[in-house]
């Protein structure tokens, strides 16, 4: 049952929110031990919230467009009084005294937070294996990863633990796991969704977005959470254009990005899915052509300078002084060092060191400064492409889900999982992944639709069409 159908039924009293929640908690109970999608299942509070929704309906009130719909929250979104860990030892047990804007908007729309989902520590990773609390497994094949970093949210939706989930996407952390788990995932335009209460990884790239079983449900959740927030200075002031509900693509100009489709190591089935989706769109009346966005090939390198640089600064505050883990030392500096040594995992430490180095005196121009220039060139190249095309098409990830442990010893191989998604973050644009059949080992494949800043309406039209064309 889709989120929209659940909400419609709950709003008119056909179904109780409580029964919806109980049903999903039962599904969680059945499979969560095997999958570990959650750091915390919020059973009691979910039931209480559901009862409040039912009471509102009984009083003749409308709880809102997400009435009674369970929503899984990535565990880097602050929830007042509920532990928020970023899957890191350094934040274990910390309970934020405030609620993230997106979570509040879900609550205000009648949605029901059902749990906090697992992630790669501080959202740094592409497999959810970098969690301090154990890896999440892919519901389609538990020997394989769900992707990452929002692997818990993707797995939760794919396993039927929740119809909707929220994640964050810094270089592909929503889209890549969505593709690997066979669900829809959206990275909205930078600034379209408030980051207030999202624990920062790389502030200029981070963006919150929805996971859903269908494109329509993803639209429902996105329309609930987006829009200006005075608490986030980078949030866009102009009201978002409605996403609509038509899959009509006739007359749309769609470009297949060569650099993202011909990447090294791409599985043939993945490339075939993009081509098949493109052919379908063409028959539906779109003009489809291949297009070059040359600087995309530098995206990965630029990203692995900019994101760690910002992370090195964003993660400085975990120093043992005010909250979270503290490991005592002889003086403050030693306490800081011991706390951080014990509290952060290997990948987080690797990126803090990379980023610190990239910003250091004498290296700034060669690394961080140069990466920002590449970013400017990527934005320019995309702008050129969007002069001729309304949206662009590419694979979401080069491969289907890989086995646990396959890439943990080789960070560069892991980083390549995001090669198709990173350019969108660098440009501040929007993108969506839609499941499109299966590839190797019968595992889900995702097709990515990229759109310019604020291009969500066209992007969703094309996504709906692809969903209809999917085998």
């Amino acid at each position: 049952m889709t989120a929209r159908a659940i909400a419609d039924a709950v709003r008119v009293g056909e179904r109780s929110a409580r029964s919806v929640v109980d049903e999903h908690l039962a599904a969680i109970e059945a499979r969560e031990p095997e999958l570990h999608a959650f750091n915390l299942v919020m059973g009691d509070s979910a039931r209480a919230t559901a009862d409040a929704v039912d009471a509102a309906v009984a009083r003749g009130e409308d709880p809102g467009p997400l009435a009674g719909v369970p929503v899984a929250l990535k565990d880097n979104l602050c929830t007042r009084g509920v532990p928020t860990t970023c899957s890191s030892r350094i934040l274990e047990g910390w309970e934020p005294p405030y609620t993230a804007t997106v979570v509040q908007r879900v609550l205000d729309a009648g949605g029901i937070p059902i749990g906090k989902t697992n992630l790669d520590e501080f959202a740094m990773g592409s497999s959810t294996e970098n969690s301090a609390f154990g890896a999440t497994r892919n519901p389609h094949d538990p020997s394989r990863v769900p992707g990452g970093s929002s692997g818990g949210s993707a797995a939760a939706v794919a396993a039927g633990f929740a119809p909707l989930a929220l994640g964050s996407d810094t270089g592909g952390s929503i889209r890549q796991p969505a593709a690997l788990c066979g669900v829809v995932g959206v990275k909205p335009t930078y600034g379209r969704v408030s980051r207030y209460g999202l624990i920062a990884f790389a502030s200029s790239l981070d963006q919150i977005g929805p996971f859903a079983g269908t494109v329509d449900d993803a639209a429902l959740l996105l329309e609930t959470i987006w829009g200006h927030d005075p608490l986030d200075s980078t949030s866009i002031g102009s009201p978002p254009a409605p996403l609509g509900d038509v899959p009509d693509v006739s007359g749309l100009r769609i470009g297949i990005v060569e650099e993202l489709t011909d990447v090294d190591g791409i599985q043939p089935e993945v490339r075939a899915a993009v081509e098949r989706a493109a052919a379908g769109l063409e028959s539906a009346g779109a003009h489809v052509e291949r297009v070059k966005v040359p600087s995309c090939v530098y995206g990965l390198s630029a990203y692995y300078l900019i994101a760690p640089a910002e992370a090195s600064s964003n993660l400085a505050r975990y120093d043992g002084v005010r909250y979270g883990l503290r490991v005592d030392g002889a003086d403050v500096a030693e306490m800081n060092a011991k706390t951080r040594a014990a509290g952060f995992g290997a990948e987080v430490k690797r990126r803090i060191m990379l980023g610190t180095y990239a910003l250091s005196a004498g290296y700034y121009d060669a690394y961080y400064g140069q990466a920002q220039k590449v970013r400017t060139v990527i934005i320019r190249d995309f702008a050129r492409a969007y002069e001729s095309f309304d949206v662009l098409l590419s694979p979401t990830a080069p491969t289907t889900a890989f086995e646990l442990g396959a890439k943990t010893e080789d960070p560069l191989a892991m980083y390549l999982s995001d090669v198709c998604t990173i350019p969108t973050n660098l440009a501040g644009h929007a993108a969506i992944t839609v499941p499109f059949g299966t590839g190797a080992f019968d595992l889900p494949v995702g097709v990515q639709v990229l759109a310019p800043a604020l291009g969500e309406p066209d992007m969703f039209r094309v996504a709906r069409a692809i969903e209809g064309l999917a085998p």
Binding site: N76, L77, C78, T84, C86, L91, W94, P96, P97, Y98, A100, R195, Y196, G197, L198, I199, A200, A202, S203, S204, P230, L231, D232, S233, T234, A309, E310, S312, S313, A316, R317, D319, V321, R322, Y323, V332, A333, N336, T356, L359, S360, A361, Y364, Y368
Partner: protein, 482 residues
């Protein structure tokens, strides 16, 4: 021995007197219970984001206007990264290579001091070390109060155009006057709302290049700023004379001991790894904001002094004292506006009234004597009703009780005796009663005559309860003693 000149640049940090902090809605208040003016944003809790306080930009624009700065169309914030427990995010949000104000100047006694920049930044919290006499190395533990974290600061950095401790003091004093006049800060050095660091170097007179500079910190008054700079200049000259090299370092001024000491440098030199703050957008003040800022800049101290001297005949020194006390200057302005002569107003204001204000701790706005009351008092002296001496008594009463000068004169029967016949009779009586003094006056030299004349005058005043018209008494004495 070579002649040296000092080359001094000042970095001044000023806390802005906004209602709320730089990036959140917490109160910007001094002296609250520790850790009560805090929220997720100024505590730097995970997930929180800064939102720039518009008022801070307005204040920066006023400063830009008042001190002849360029304000580029856009400025940006950077992060200054270093670990310190009283800094909640372990980075300070500050401005770096694109500050809001660039290249301004102030004129100090006819010399133009160029000011490189002024930028916005957030203050840190305060750490208190417990045990070990409050010093970090011997303390058993430390407590941090984050009430000050996120309080808005402006850092104002001069070019090394200052040549003496005296000039440095004059610069800071003038800067304080400007900041006060434009209403952006309390500028209290003693409370730390204005903090001054000095970069000092010396060079032989006539050479152009800069010597190695030493930064001196911890001066908490204008006096201590002057002492610290003089000390540093003397220290550097002595070092160079004895063949030593000046080491670039930061020294802390010890006011009680009257010396500065090298501060322990943090391991190696700090690399702050500045980069643009991604959580904030560029600051691009609109034309309206700029126009509002221009309109909000009142008459500045220099212009005010000039006006008092030129238009009101106030003495230079009195003008300076008045303008250094803006509320008193406003009081004087109002008295002049109702017609009292500026010179007299300035005399009373910088004399008896300022004395009373200092002694009572009151501010001019709350004095029972309104400015037009002072004008009334001055009028009573001018028309001969009161002697200057009695006028002081009347003023004293009017400063303590809500009474008009004329009312006090009436109540106490203080009106000056100006009746010539009446005064002549009294003078004659006094001369008779003090025949010895009169005789000594007649035969004495210049010095004795002056003394005796003063004595006789005093006796006349005494005989009239000081109500005698002094000018008339003098005239009568002139006639009778010649």
């Amino acid at each position: 021995m070579a002649e040296y000149e000092a080359v001094i640049g000042l970095e001044v940090h000023v806390e802005l007197a906004t209602t709320t902090k730089l990036f959140c809605g917490c109160p910007n208040e001094f002296g609250s219970e520790p850790n009560t003016n805090v929220c997720p944003i100024c505590l730097g809790l995970p997930g929180s984001l800064p939102v720039l306080n518009r008022r801070v930009v307005e204040y920066a624009l006023r400063l830009g206007e008042a001190m002849h700065f360029d304000v580029p169309s856009e400025s940006i914030f950077h992060r200054k990264n270093y670990f310190y427990p009283d800094m909640p995010k372990d980075y300070q949000v500050s401005q770096y290579d694109h500050p809001i104000c660039v290249e301004g100047w102030m004129e100090i006694d006819g010399t133009r001091i160029r000011i490189e920049r002024a930028h916005m930044e957030e203050d840190t919290g305060k750490t208190q070390h417990i045990g070990g006499g409050g010093r970090i190395h011997d303390a058993s533990h430390s407590l941090v109060d984050y009430n000050r974290a996120g309080v808005p600061l402006m850092e104002i950095v001069s070019h090394p155009d200052i040549r003496s401790a005296e000039q440095a003091r004059a610069y800071v004093s003038e800067l304080r006057g400007v900041l006060q006049a434009i209403g952006v800060s309390d500028v209290k050095m003693e409370e730390g709302s204005m903090r001054v660091d000095a970069n000092v170097s010396i060079r032989p007179v006539g050479t152009g290049e800069l010597g190695t500079k030493v930064e001196v910190k911890n001066m908490n008054s204008l006096r201590s700023l002057g002492r610290a700079i003089d000390y540093e200049i003397a220290r550097q000259i002595a070092a160079v004379e004895s063949g030593d090299r000046i080491v670039q370092e930061t020294r802390g001024w010890d006011e009680a001991a009257g010396v500065s000491q090298g501060m322990r440098s943090k391991e190696g030199s700090n690399d702050y790894r500045y980069f643009p703050e991604p959580d904030l957008v560029p600051v691009a003040p609109s034309d309206e904001m700029r126009a509002e800022a221009r309109a909000a800049v009142p008459e500045l101290p220099a212009a005010h002094r000039t006006r008092l001297v030129a238009e009101w005949g106030v003495a230079d020194q009195d003008a300076r004292v008045l303008v250094d006390n803006p509320a008193l200057a406003a009081y004087a302005d109002q008295a002049m506006a109702v017609g009292a002569p500026g010179k007299d107003v300035a005399n009373w204001c910088t004399g008896e009234i300022l004395g009373f204000l200092n002694e009572s701790g009151l501010s001019p706005e709350v004095l029972p004597l309104a400015p037009d009351g002072l004008a009334e008092l001055i009028g009573l002296v001018a028309d001969g009703t009161l002697s200057r001496s009695l006028a002081k008594d009347v003023l004293d009463e009017c400063l303590r009780e809500p009474k008009r000068p004329k009312q006090v004169v009436a109540e106490r029967g203080l009106a000056q005796v100006s009746d010539e016949a009446e005064l002549a009779a009294i003078v004659d009586e006094v001369l008779v009663a003090n025949g010895d003094a009169v005789e000594e006056y007649r035969v004495g030299d210049e010095k004795v005559r002056g003394k005796k004349r003063g004595f006789i005058f005093g006796q006349v005043m005494r005989a009239t309860d000081r109500k005698a018209n002094a000018a008339m008494v003098n005239q009568l004495l002139d006639e009778r003693l010649s």
